[in-house]
Symmetry: C2
Subunit: 378 residues, 2 copies
């Protein structure tokens, strides 16, 4: 693929095709959001230049940052004693920042619940900072389910308890946060962030990269309680310290200005067009429901779902073919219908359809129809 | 400022004004680059969707990343035994990553040359990882100049020697890298990156945020020699480890896809429109020359330059008014002529005109004319 620098912008874009991408992230964004970004790309109203050019200290960005945070607080009903930061480095940097701030130098171990690949990566980084106690690791079961409350034998006290609310690769999701007693609950919500309401008050710290349900790659959102902030270590590297970020409110250094701007447009779209997170959740259930219903109707004869029913993700539907030799044909036939990025992660194999906030119902319907047709013809 | 979500994109943008922004960063971008971003925002040719939606593992992004790196290597003549990473977190995260990788656990101290605010911040983070030896700190002289070679009393051996090639806030710039013997030279090139040729072979590691001369905020470029990579500590937090990034070539986790894309367009523009870094350097000299000439012609009667002549930055021109009471009037009158973001950093006061790669000559001429007029009428 070659991109050409064209100094005479033409109407070429009208001819460019948009397909249905089931990419696990970065992922599809709503067309109205993309159109607004496009419209104002040369000059943001009132800012005197492009959003790509404005200072992070400008009144224009003051307004963007304030509204982005306000909208997030409204959508998620974030309590007043929680802080919100827009950072960089993805969830992966949070895998390290969480233990650097909350495990280093603490007497108590951190407890990790591992229900998939990403939780495992988070625990690996935590071990660099102190003792890590793993209370659940279903690797032997290929991470096909999340534990029940009865299965979680939590220690009486931990520096914190970490879990991954939706495992993107395996397609398993907690229905509700685990009950962890008095220890702060830390959640990697990356691949379900803003797809449904959550009771933020149950968390000590919640983090998510934006590029699945909430914006472009390069932006990370952290929501942290004042209580947990006080537990954080001090005298840490500035960029790795939640306390330093708290002092500077997302502007300890230059943030991803464009990322925050697109996130703002996403929150408006979620509120005004989708109707909030209850509605987003209903949409997610309806969209993934079409695919799960097709899998269930098949009964495992042709398609084999990965996740157990009670743990199925409303974001990432994972399955394989009973006859794995047919998988290349499945990919090719799907692409012919403009259904792309369906290949599963190499660690799980098969297929993964990610149906985030911006995936229209039409995309889910087309995928379902294709799956039924493919089964009928093979 | 309120942004409205408009689902019927209109021709409004044509009416939006673009002013001349002398912001120290994020800063102005070339109009042809912005136009191309705008044109392809809904669907990148051949990618099936927006650059904001494509996977960082997609063929489209493979091509973007490969060409961005190739163009950078061509523009800067990066030797084959150097690696290039596109990271997140700005120069500020590099202030920590450099000593975490190259000072922690080493026997030798790190040497820092402080010629302004940013070098001081870098040294502060380094002290968390080991001994820091400051060989030059002209804070008493308000950082108005860089040291001569004779003034730098460097220790025989250091873990590395760090300096800031252009101090954005004070407007002082090294003409050439300091000679540091066998110790690896580490350079924060943030505010002069890609504004002139540099002999990359003289550096062990060179880093820069993109939002001044090379792209939008949220992208950091690191160029590091294989030799220095080998000196880096191991067993570090993955996201903070240059070795881990080297293994994964900018994709240890999801990079700022959009930032790399705009960086790619910037490198094309620099090569094809500007004519390479020698030409960029000549442009920078011509643009800042207009302003410095105006300051020199004044002879300190009305305008007082901050930086000493031999250390003047070709990026950020710093000055104040002899009569500081006139400064608000200067800002207001400049804004009336669409010349904005001229206020100096609070630590230096007065004014700062940043004239990065994308500032057209017309902007410099308009500023010069305004300065002459303002002097004549006050």
């Amino acid at each position: 693929m070659t991109l050409t620098l064209d100094r005479q912008p033409s109407a070429r874009q009208a001819q460019e095709r948009r397909v249905f991408s089931f990419s696990p992230g970065p992922a599809v964004l709503p067309l109205p959001v993309l159109r607004e970004v496009q419209r104002d790309l040369l000059a943001l109203p009132g800012a005197g230049g492009s959003v790509l050019e404005i200072s992070h200290r400008s009144p224009a960005f003051d307004a963007i940052l304030a509204e982005a945070e306000a909208n997030l607080r409204e959508l998620l009903a974030v309590p007043a004693d929680y802080r919100v930061f827009f950072l960089q480095g993805g969830a992966s940097l949070q895998f390290s920042m969480v233990p650097i701030n909350l495990l280093r130098g603490q007497g108590l171990p951190a407890t990790y619940i591992l229900t998939g690949t990403w939780g495992g990566k988070a625990a690996m980084e935590a071990r660099r900072e102190g003792r890590v106690h793993v209370v659940w690791d279903d690797a032997d079961g290929a991470y096909a389910r999340v534990p029940s409350a009865a299965e979680l034998d939590l220690p009486e006290a931990s520096s914190y308890v970490h879990y991954t609310s939706n495992e993107t690769i395996q397609g398993v999701q907690f229905r509700r946060p685990p009950e962890v007693g008095d220890s702060p609950l830390v959640c990697d919500a990356s691949s379900e962030f803003l797809s449904r309401p959550v009771d933020v008050g149950k968390f000590g710290l919640l983090y998510a990269c934006a590029q699945k349900n909430a914006g472009p790659a390069g932006l990370t959102v952290v929501v942290v309680s004042d209580e947990v902030l006080e537990r954080c270590g001090d005298d840490l590297h500035s960029m790795l310290s939640y306390r330093r970020h708290a002092e500077k409110g997302s502007r300890l250094n230059t943030p991803n200005v464009f990322g925050v701007y697109v996130f703002l447009l996403m929150t408006r779209w979620l509120r005004d067009e989708v109707g909030g997170l209850e509605a987003a959740s209903a949409r997610a259930k309806a969209k993934t429901g079409l695919i799960y219903d097709a899998l269930d109707a098949d009964g495992g004869e042709f398609y084999v779902p990965h996740a157990e029913v009670a743990s199925r993700s409303r974001m990432n539907v994972t399955f394989r073919l009973r006859t794995s030799e047919l998988e290349p044909a499945f990919v090719a036939a799907a692409a012919e219908r403009d259904l792309v990025a369906l290949k599963g992660h190499r660690s799980v194999g098969g297929f993964r359809a990610s149906l985030y906030n911006a995936m229209p119902m039409e995309g889910a319907e087309r995928l379902r129809d294709f799956m039924l047709d493919f089964r009928a013809t093979h």
